[in-house]
Point group: C2
DNA sequence: TCTGCGGATGAAAAAGCTTCTCATTATTAT
DNA sequence: ATAATAATGAGAAGCTTTTTCATCCGCAGA
């Protein structure tokens, strides 16, 4: 139930927040731009402004409910935060996104940061390529 | 000499192109936003429009003279392409940027892409943290 | 050195994404 | 139910980047 998640995050239970969380949880795609969410709301008949979508997604990010990514192309994409870190590989032809975690890479990153004198707070690895489906054509 | 590099890249030798390449080669910073380059041009007394800066940097990228990166914060940064791939670690406090290459990570990336059925075309790893200097305060 | 063509430039407008403003409305604690 | 407070919608504005278009320049050929 979305309302308890919102309350737990210290957010008032409002219609826009419930509907947006609903879309993030129900949609078959895990990665959404603000525009994607806005259009999905329109399709369900909700008249929620784009500014509100941006505000709510930013609040969800601050509350730890979603993660924001900067895929190439300028705009942000959001996905439900399910607690575990992962990285992304994107098809440059069709836009498909796959997720992965690799402990070898994660460990090396920690070492490199330490070697360079950094205390690492975050990291993201984006790989771009042509997916199996798109290779055939 | 900049003009021969431009000719080699198939670009006409124009004042904006020479000056911009000059800034990229002479500056102590390796990573520049378009705005950075524009301001540096103004400081040397050159009246070159921002649109031209964007155009030239995009052409340099297409010609393989520079690499474009998308650090967090929305805008692109450019650096001279010295042929060898490297990744980046950025200080979230002071903006410092360090570069590194790690063969273990590079190799794992190839494996992961292959496992997921992708033919990898590009990749970028951004690490964020607090640098040695900024940790002290 | 002169000429002419195609490409390059500058200035301003426009585009695309995101944030802000402010009047109105909804939520929550009492 | 009421009051205090926060959230919303619509539109304006902000920022980075691209496009438009009239003018200008580099450069190959004469
Ligand atoms: Mn993901
Ligand atoms: Mn670099
Ligand atoms: Zn594909
Ligand atoms: Zn620092």
């Amino acid at each position: 139930m979305e309302s308890s998640e919102l309350r737990k995050a210290g957010l008032k239970v409002t219609l826009p927040r419930v509907k947006i969380l609903d879309i993030l949880e129900q949609s078959s795609n895990r990665h959404h731009s603000a525009e994607d969410v806005y259009k999905a709301l329109l399709e369900t008949g909700e008249e929620i402004g784009l500014a509100t979508v941006y505000r709510v997604l930013t609040q969800f990010e601050a509350a730890g409910l979603v993660k924001r990514h900067h895929f190439e192309g300028g705009h942000s994409v959001f996905e439900l935060n399910q607690g575990t870190h992962h990285d992304h590989i994107l098809c440059v032809k069709c836009g498909r996104v796959d997720e992965f975690v690799d402990e070898t890479i994660e460990a090396r990153q920690q070492d490199i940061a330490a070697e360079l004198g950094y205390e690492m707070t975050d990291h993201c690895l984006y790989m771009y390529g042509i997916c199996a489906d798109c290779k055939g054509k």
